[in-house]
Symmetry: C2
Subunit: 250 residues, 2 copies
Amino acid sequence: MAGTVEALTSRLETIGDLSDSDRAALNSIPIHISSIPRGTEIVADGEIATSCCLVIEGYVYRSKLRPDGQRQIFSLHPAGDIPDLHSLHLEKMDHNLVAMSDCTVGRMDHRDVREAIEDRPSLTALLWRDTLIDAAAFRAWMLMLGAAEALERMAHLFCEIYTRAMMAGLTEGNSFRLPLTQSDLGDILGISVVHANRTLQDLRARRLLDFDQHVVTILQWEKLRSLARFDPSYLHYLDRRAGRVDPAKM
Amino acid sequence: MAGTVEALTSRLETIGDLSDSDRAALNSIPIHISSIPRGTEIVADGEIATSCCLVIEGYVYRSKLRPDGQRQIFSLHPAGDIPDLHSLHLEKMDHNLVAMSDCTVGRMDHRDVREAIEDRPSLTALLWRDTLIDAAAFRAWMLMLGAAEALERMAHLFCEIYTRAMMAGLTEGNSFRLPLTQSDLGDILGISVVHANRTLQDLRARRLLDFDQHVVTILQWEKLRSLARFDPSYLHYLDRRAGRVDPAKM
DNA sequence: CGTTGCTTTGAACTAGCTCAAGACCTGTGG
DNA sequence: CCACAGGTCTTGAGCTAGTTCAAAGCAACG
């Protein structure tokens, strides 16, 4: 079981404090672990959820399909996230949860999660806080979708993912794996695949970043960040490890 | 004090159950009531919030201004809503809270709210649930912004507001007051004022609704709803009053 | 070594934008 | 009671960011 809930506790520690007893409570939650291939629908739109999904390895995304087949992706989730934690109090799913890459995920019954946080106000507050940060990220994406054009939107997306990958300890220098096709990229940004391709080429031509073979390399962070007008404070990252860069001050 | 917290308890009862003791706890929260004119910034982007704002009368919106002055509106809030309840666990505001019309609002200190929900898991869960429904509405708006064109977006917006006004008991038959300019409408939908005007004219020409003098009148609900592909389930409305229409089945 | 899925390119088209001006409406002060 | 001011709504006209369609190139995989 080692290394499973660890992703979760380390994620939670980037956004708040965990007491030893809170950590123990989390560790006591039974988890059913499974490996799933890319594209698997983990939870379906309309379903009544009775458990939550912890991402242990790989990436997961939330999306909704429109009757005409068009897809909008709402968020991306690296290891440590519980993308459907909201289902704890909103049982009926209003979107899909899908594996973006081959993944390892762990299922935790709502019943067990509720039991673990019962009589632990600080742990409850921390999980609540996590769902609120999720909502803050939605606002940031809405701002992009409603008020920015494609180039800035895409730059902003890469800034956010890079920062979150860094929080999750998934970066190596200025690059990180991101198992995403250009078509996915388009469905996140609300643009067509063709335009996603051209916008990406623009970012490459400006030598701001590279994205090839599912690996993103940030070439000029400061310029990328300023093009994107990226302000990471909505991610509410608390860094306490000495020697690490605080994205809020990057 | 009568009629102040009432808007809140009745809002909460549309999304879940309140015990007498929960209701008493809410009623015991000290509220500082004030009347504010349209356009007042209630809480500013970047501010560290120490209290929450309950809307008692009028409409409030959340928005963010971009450096170039462009504004994106994230949500609208009628009486009964606590638009910044999230600040309870996310103190630093990442957007503005503004009075859309002349308003009466009540301020509740975070300290007092925390005290009221302490040792009341069911009340805590209900407030948590409220913030999750807020996030679900963000997803619905993101879907519109990213994947629908202007006409459908606007139709969807009117469907949502109508339904929420109905939940809050603010409709009279098929019309309701909505203190919104066309420029606001554009900033919600991510389109220009000019296009907002033309899109609204289109809806009028199709005889789906009317919007004049800050009053919306729904003319053909079923057609509007189907144009908008509106499914109200994301609002998680629980209707228990006999004789009322359940929007989930409208 | 062919199939399948992803990326790239060109070219014609369109939804929505910007700019600019006129119409309308409401409240205010003289 | 009028006139003016400031905000809001409406309209026209030219422009642009992004779309759709279609085809070709490329890579991985059995």
